[in-house]
Amino acid sequence: MAPTKELTNKEITAIKNISKLFDDKKYSKGLKECNTILKNHPDNPDASCFKSLILYNLEQQYDARENALKTTKTLPTNSMAWHTLGYIYKLDKNYIDAATAFKNASKFNKESSQILKELAPLQLYSRDLEGLKETYATLLKLQPSYKPHWTGLVTTYHLMGQTKPALSVFERYLDTLEDKDLSGVKQTESILYRCMLHYELEEYDQALELLVNNEKKIIDKLWAISKHGDILLKKGDLAAAESKFRDLIKLNQDDLSIHKKLWESKNIKSLDNLSDEEISTLVSLYKELGSLYPKSLLIQKIPLLFLKDKQQFREHAVFYTKNFLSKGIPSLFNNLKCLYNNKEKVEIFSQLFLDQLQSLKEKQQLLGSDEKESPSTILWCLYYLAQHYDRTKDFSTSLSFINQAIDHTPTCLDLYVVKAKLYKHQGDLQKAYEEYDRARNLDLADRYLNTKCALYALRNNDPDTAEAIFSLIKDETQTLLFNIQEFQCIWYERELGKAYLRAGDNARAIKLFNLVDKNHLEYLEDQMDFHNHINKKLTMRSYIEFLRWEDQVYQNKPYIATGKAHVKAYLNHQNKPEVMAPLKKVPAIKKPATKPAQLEPKKDPNTGLTIPEDDDLNGKKFLVKQVNLMDSAQLILDNLLKNTNDIEIYSLACQVNTYQKKYLLVLKSLAKIKSIDENSPCYYDNLVNLVIKVSEDKEVSAIVKAAVEKQATFSSDVDSILVYNQTYLEKLGDNVTAQHRFVVGKIIAKLSPSSLDKALELILNVQGETDWKQCADNLQSLSLVSSELSSKYREKLHQQFPIANYFQPKVEN
C-alpha cells in the first residue's frame, strides 16, 4: 500500500469549502475542488464521496454510481464510502442495494445511530425483518428514550407475526415513555392497538377488558364496538354480540358486513341452505329492523336474499322495487343482479316485471297501488326488462325492450348505455361503441360517460378515437401516455395494451403492460414516504394493515387482469398466432388538429432531476432486450400464481413452462387445475400439449417422461395420444361441452393431418356454445394448427354469433 500523504492545512480548508459549496449547490466549483484534492490524494474519502454526490446532482448518475462503487472498493472499511453509495442507490430507488450498502456503513461505524436510522426503512422495504429487528435493538441501545425506535421495533415484530413480543414491547413503551396524560385520538390509538394485538393472539378476555375498562376514553367508536362484537362472537356470547351489532346498525344501517355479523350472532353463518327456522328468525329480525329504520334501502333489500317461499319473495320484491320504478333509480337491475344465480328467483322477476309492465300499460299503476304513476315509471320498467333479458341471454327480447324504451323517451341517456351493453355482450363492439357515443354526446360535461366511452372505443380496437375522447378531459400540455402514467390510470394502460395485443402488436402491448407494473412499483415505493410520518402520527393499526397490503400489492383484480394479458403477449410473440382483431384503420373520431405546445421536460418531484424522454415509443427496443421471452413471462407469473384459484393463470403457466421445458412445473400447474375442475377442457388441452412436447424433446430425462405419462395415463407417442383422445369425450358423458369437442378436434388436426375431416366435424359442432370470447381465443389457437380449419371455424362462428365483429367474413381488399 502506498504511503498516504498527509493533508496540508490548505487542503483541509479546501475540503471544508467543498462541503459549503455542496450545500450552496455550486456543484461545478465543488467538483473542481474535489478533483484538485484527488489528484494528490486519490483515496481521500471526503473528496471522493462528495464527488459522487456532486456528479449525481449534475445529472451524471452513471458516473456518480461508478465513482461511489469505486470508492467502496478502494476504501472497503470506510463507513462514509458505503454511506455515500447507499445514499446514491436510494436516490436511484434501488432500495435493496441501498440497504446492503447502509448495512456495511453501519458495520464500520457501529456508534452511528444516523446510519441505522437510514437503514431501517430500507430494511423494511426489502422485508429483511430479521435484520430490521437487529437494527432496532442496536438503536435502542444507542438511544433508549427515542420513541420511534420503540414503535419501529413493535411494528417489526408484528409484521413478522411475532405478536406476543410486539405486544410486550409496546406495553413497556407505553409504561416508560408515553405521556401519562395522553388524550384524544392518540390515547385511543394506543388502547385499540393493544386490543388488536390481543385479538390476533386470540387473547379475547384481555382484549375485551381493554375495551370495557376504557370505554369512556375511546373515541373511535365504530372500530371499538365492531371489535367488541367480534370478540363476543369468538367467545360464543351470542346475545351480547347481537346487542353490539345492533348498536352499530343504529349508527349506520347500510353496512352489509355488520348485518352479516348480526346474522352470525343469531347463529346463522351464511345465507346458503337456510333451514325454515333460520328463515323465520331472519323474517322477524328484518321486520323489526324495517320498522325501526324505514328509510334504509339495505334493510329493505336483505329479505330478498333469504326468502325462499315464492309468494313471500314476490310480495317483498313488489314492495322493494316500487320506489326504484316510481322515482326512476337506474341502478335497480345492478342492485338485484346478485340474485340472478337462483333460477327460481329469476323466473319470479321475469313474471313480476312483465306484470308491472302490463299494469302500467293498462292502468298507469304499479301492482298493489292506487297511485297514478308518472310516464317515466313505465320507461324504467322497460329499462329493467331489457337488462333482465340480456342477463338471461335472450338478446332479441332485450333489444326489443330497450328499443321500446327509446321510442318512449329518446332523450334518456341511460337507455343508450344499456343498448351499448347489449351489443357488447353479443360481441358487436362496433355498435356497442356507437351507442355509448350516442349517450356521451347527450351530455358532454359528464366525465363518467366520457371515460366509459373511451373504454368502449378501446375495446372496439380504436385507440385513436379513445385518445380523442379522453383528451377532451385531460391536461393538454402533456402526452396521453404521460398523463395516464402519472395518475396511475391503470385501466387505460391495460385496455390500450389489450387492443394492441388483439392487433398483434405485442411490443406496444408489452410496453403498456409494463406501465402497470411500474405503477405497482410506485405503490411499493410509497412505503418509503411514510416511515417518518408514522413515527409522528402513530396510527399503528392502519400502518400494519398498510404494510400487509403492500405484501400483497400484486394480488389485486386490476393487476391480475393485466398480468394475464401481459403473459399472453409474450406467448403470442413466441408463437405468432393469427391476428384476432386489427386496429381500426379510420378512427371514428379524429384526434384534435392542434398539436400540444412544446412539451416541457418533466422533472422528478423527489430529486428535481429531469426525467429522460421516452426513446422507445413502440416498445420494440425493450422487447429486443429480453434475453428469453418466456423468462420474462415467468416473472409476471410468479406474482399471479400467489394464492390463486384462477384456471386461466395456471393454464398460462403450463404454456410458459412447457416452452421453458420445465415439465415438472407444468405437472404442478396441471394438478392445480384438476383440483379446481377435473373436467376442465383447459386441463386436457394443456396436458396433451405437454405430452406432445415431451415426446418431441430428445433431451428429456426418462424420469420426467415417466412422471408425465403417469399423470396423463397414456404414453407420449402419437398413436397412444390419438387413441386416448378418441375415448376422452365418451368418458365425459353428459359433461361434454362445445369447448371439449374443440380441444379434441384440435388435437386430431395437430397429430393426424390425414384426419382433418374428423377434426373439422368436432370443431364445427358449436352447439350450446354461448361464450364468443372463448371462441375468439380458440380461433387464434386453431390458426397455429391449420389455417384451412380456422377459416372454416370462423364461418361457423359467424353463424353462431351473427353480430360478433371478430367472426365477420374478412373483407378482401
Binding site: D220, P330, K337, F487, C489, F530, S542, F546
Partner: protein
C-alpha cells in the same frame, strides 16, 4: 345493493379508479395513503355486491387547523345516482370528524358551475358559502369554499366574530372618510369585543 362502510386499505385502489372515472381532480396513490395513514377513521366507501367501490368520500383534518375538517374528494358513479349515497357518505364522514377529531367544522370546495353538487351541499347537507376562491381549479374555474359547523356554539361564536368584523370595518371606513373630508371626527365607535381564548395547538 350498495353497502356504506368505513374505508379500508384494500379500497384505495378502487377509490383511485372511481376518482379517475368521475372527477377531473386526480391524485396519486401516495395521497390516498396519506389520508388513510393519518386520519383512517374519516373516509368511507360505498361498495356493490361484487366489492367494487361505486362511491367514496376522502376526508381529513386541515393540516394548519386541527379543529377544521376538510372533504378532499367525494364521488359517486353516475350509474349509482339517486340512492342518496353521497349524502350517506358525507354524514358518516361528518360524524367521524366530530367524534374522533373533535372538529368544529368541515369545509370543502365546489365548482361554481356544478349546480348538482352545490345543491347537495347547500340544500341537503346544510353547508354555507364561506367565500369565493378565484381560479381555484386547474382549469381556472372559480370555487365556492363552503363550510358546515358541527358544533352550534362554535358557529354562534364565528357569526359573532363576523358581525364584529363588519362593524369595525364600517367604523374604520367612516373615520377614514371623515378624515378625508376634514369633517369633525366622530367619537370612536369601534367596538372592542372579547379576546378570544387561543387554545394551544398540539
Amino acid at each position: 345493493m350498495v353497502s356504506i362502510r368505513p374505508c379500508q386499505i384494500g379500497d384505495l385502489m378502487s377509490m383511485q379508479n372511481a376518482n379517475l372515472t368521475c372527477l377531473p381532480e386526480n391524485y396519486q396513490m401516495k395521497y390516498y395513503l396519506y389520508h388513510f395513514l393519518t386520519w383512517p377513521q374519516t373516509s368511507f366507501v360505498a361498495e356493490d355486491d361484487k366489492g367494487n367501490v361505486v362511491g367514496y368520500v376522502l376526508a381529513k383534518i386541515d393540516e394548519n387547523d386541527p379543529k377544521r375538517g376538510h372533504i378532499t374528494s367525494l364521488a359517486v358513479l353516475r350509474s349509482q345516482r339517486k340512492l342518496g349515497i353521497a349524502t350517506k357518505l358525507m354524514k358518516q364522514a361528518e360524524v367521524a370528524l366530530l367524534e374522533v377529531f373533535d372538529a368544529d367544522c368541515v369545509s370543502l370546495h365546489v365548482r361554481k358551475s356544478n349546480r348538482a353538487a352545490f345543491s347537495l351541499y347547500h340544500e341537503v347537507l346544510k353547508f354555507k358559502i364561506d367565500e369565493i376562491e378565484k381560479e381555484y381549479y386547474g382549469d381556472k374555474e372559480d370555487a365556492y369554499s363552503m363550510v358546515l359547523y358541527l358544533k352550534p356554539e362554535v358557529e354562534e361564536e364565528k357569526e359573532r366574530e363576523k358581525q364584529l368584523e363588519k362593524i369595525n370595518k364600517a367604523a374604520k371606513e367612516s373615520i377614514e372618510a371623515a378624515k378625508r373630508s376634514n369633517e369633525p371626527q366622530p367619537v370612536s365607535n369601534v367596538i372592542h369585543g372579547k379576546k378570544k381564548n387561543v387554545k394551544k395547538i398540539e
